[in-house]
């Protein structure tokens, strides 16, 4: 197990290295040079321009600049925002808690509502099953940003139950402010997870080992818990993992809609302002988090399914 985790961490580091190069190169290739951004259309003398280039290290060759950036990143220095002159690392640090809270909240909603709805629908069947199937079809088709606007319209504007914008202060204030965004972010994933959980439970219910247990006189409650739900959790773990990992980037849309100051909205603003130092930093952080979440899911899967042979991974 430990060797598996170490090997996967190594692979993740390699992926991050290549990704960092791609991200940096992409921003380098993007139209609009940083110095023209810095002078903002003002006519400046060539001497001033040259001093700016030296100040920001823009006169050096691409690979050297990449190397400087990379070594900086490794020591926690992500450079300086071109738009605000702020230190990118401290900018990230101030933005990450909001995104973390939002995605954790949404992940919790996905697990609780998606999995529970799917399990109940799969075990009980009947009208409840139809309701979950129908609800998941509709929920899947609702884009996150529209769910955000819809929730805002109903619960914030019309009913006034929740605040419209902002992240709130204090724990209860934060929870209150993050509720609508988290629901909006989780809604499509809840639909998918509920659907897949239901299918997994129904399939598991029809397996022979379940009917064998029932035929031995094991009570239905025990069979449902130990055999049906437990086994159905294997595919469900995968799909929950995929959806939770996708929250990492999906949060940007919801943060934008609710004007939350997370790293997602930071990314969007930076792209629109062509503030590439920030884009690079956020992209790298998101790829890293995405990779770590996926790694955690793989390990978790290996823990709950005894048939997964971690040693055989390299073959």
């Amino acid at each position: 197990m430990l060797r598996f985790v170490i090997r996967r961490l190594g692979a993740l580091a390699a992926t991050l290295l290549v990704s960092s190069f791609i991200i940096y190169a992409a921003m380098y290739a993007a139209p609009g040079s940083p110095e023209s951004f810095l002078v903002r259309g003002r006519t400046v003398s060539p001497e001033v321009l040259a001093s700016i280039r030296v100040q920001y290290g823009l006169d050096e060759p691409f690979l050297v600049r990449y190397w400087h950036w990379l070594t900086g990143v490794l020591s926690g220095d992500f450079g300086e925002s071109l738009a605000t002159r702020q230190d990118v690392a401290s900018l990230l640090a101030s933005r990450i808690p909001t995104t973390l809270g939002l995605t954790a909240y949404a992940a919790l909603l996905i697990v609780v509502f998606g999995v529970v709805a799917g399990v109940v629908a799969g075990l009980r069947g009947g009208a409840l099953d139809t309701a979950v199937l129908l609800g998941s079809s509709v929920g899947f088709a609702i884009p996150t940003f529209f769910a955000a606007v819809l929730l805002m319209s109903v619960f914030a504007v019309t009913l006034g139950w929740f605040p419209v914008f902002g992240a709130g202060a204090g724990l209860s204030g934060r929870l209150l402010h993050l509720t609508l965004p988290a629901v909006a972010l989780a809604l499509p994933a809840i639909a998918v997870v509920a659907r897949i959980t239901r299918t997994a439970v129904v399939e598991e219910r029809d397996t022979e080992h379940v009917s064998v247990s029932l035929a031995r006189g094991v009570p239905w409650r025990v069979v449902a818990r130990r055999h049906i739900v437990r086994n159905a959790m294997l595919p469900v773990t995968t799909i929950v993992g995929v959806n939770v990992a996708a929250l990492v980037a999906g949060a940007a849309v919801v943060e934008h809609a609710f004007t939350l100051d997370g790293i997602g909205s930071l990314l969007i603003d930076a792209v629109q302002q062509k503030d590439f130092a920030v884009v690079q930093a956020v992209a790298l952080v998101l790829v890293a988090v995405f990779g770590v979440v996926n790694l955690v899911i793989d390990v978790l899967y290996a823990v709950i399914d005894p048939r997964v042979q971690l040693g055989g991974e390299s073959a």
Partner: protein, 333 residues
């Protein structure tokens, strides 16, 4: 008094364009401690007969007739009583042990579940008993077996585990559905011997489903031959082997290669097996029977008892001499 009595069991499965009959009136008595083989081709209804006893027939199936276990009608029990009956009096051994065990639980969980969760026994006593039984069914390293997951054991080992689990609750009736078919040929006879030994030792009755007449002959007291959802002949292995009364039984015996007699070509039963729902008026076997007479095509044929056996054939008296097998090997059991 018989332990199990099947009385005119009929089973229909809803199907597009009308119901399909799978069992067309199966009647059978099993005495305490008696082993009865249910033999027939696939689709003859032998497995379905077992499932009506355990009430695990497919969803939507309509079953009529009575299944009496010690005089209690199994078919009319409520859910709680059925669960108690399954936990206490019945045990099932199915074809594929790999499918019968939950792949993500340890073997120990499977073994004690039938005692602890189904019968409410204490975990400690349950574990002691299944350990003894595992040793009895020939598992050398009991500890390792208990700690294993199903995918770590061979099919033969798993079927021993299933047999141990079935025997653990000292049921009165074992239901075995082709318990060795999915196993390697080399382990088949070993597992079969263990099953037979355990059954005799614990004095359990058994319904043994197989397509293999020889195998049934080796371990059963009586054999019921099924064709198209009906029993066509019942008798002891010796009776069936030396003097089959139904043409189908005779052809079934002939179509098995014999070790003692060398035949130039292996006889096969002409035509293809008829499914129960395809049977029209008259004898179900009429379409394939070499001894067919005009009257075989109309009117249902009754199962006639006599000489401690029963047969469902209009011409069984006329054909008695013709169906006798001269080269029949000696059968003991």
């Amino acid at each position: 008094m018989s332990l199990l009595e099947l009385d005119d069991i009929r089973l229909d499965l809803p199907h597009r364009g009308g119901d399909r009959a799978l069992l067309r009136g199966v009647s059978l008595r099993v005495a305490p401690g008696e082993a009865i083989g249910l033999v027939g081709e696939s689709g003859s209804g032998k497995s379905m007969t077992l499932r009506t006893v355990l009430r695990t027939e497919p969803a939507g199936a309509r079953v009529t007739g009575r299944v009496l276990l010690d005089g209690t009608d199994v078919r009319s029990l409520d859910a709680a009583a059925l669960r108690r009956l399954r936990a206490r009096d019945l045990a099932m051994i199915s074809q594929d042990p790999r499918a019968a065990l939950n792949p993500v639980l340890r073997v120990a969980e499977f073994l004690v579940e039938g005692l602890c969760d189904a019968r409410g026994e204490r975990r400690g006593t349950a574990e002691r008993r299944v350990r003894d039984l595992l040793a009895q069914v020939g598992i050398a390293d009991v500890d390792r077996c208990m700690d294993s997951y199903p995918h770590q054991l061979s099919g033969g080992m798993l079927q021993r585990v299933v047999i141990a689990a079935a025997v653990a609750g000292s049921p009165r009736l074992l239901l075995a559905d082709e318990p060795t078919t999915a196993l390697d040929v080399t382990t088949q006879s070993e597992v079969m011997a263990i099953l037979d030994e355990q059954r005799r030792e614990h004095g359990m009755a058994m319904l043994f489903v197989t397509h293999d007449l020889e195998l049934a002959s080796a371990v059963c007291d009586r054999i019921a031959v099924l064709y198209a959802g009906q029993i066509v002949e019942i008798g002891t292995p010796a009776q069936l082997h030396s003097a089959p009364r139904h043409p189908y039984t005779r052809l079934l015996l002939d179509s098995r290669p014999s070790l003692t007699a060398t035949t130039p070509t292996l006889p096969v039963i002409p035509g293809r097996p008829v499914a129960a729902y395809e049977v029209g008026a008259g004898c179900a076997f009429a379409t394939r029977c070499p001894w067919i007479a005009p009257r075989c095509r109309d009117g249902a044929v009754p199962l006639v008892e006599g000489d401690g056996r029963a047969v469902r054939c209009h011409r069984s008296d006329e054909l008695r001499g013709e169906l006798v097998r001269t080269s029949a090997p000696e059968v003991t059991g």
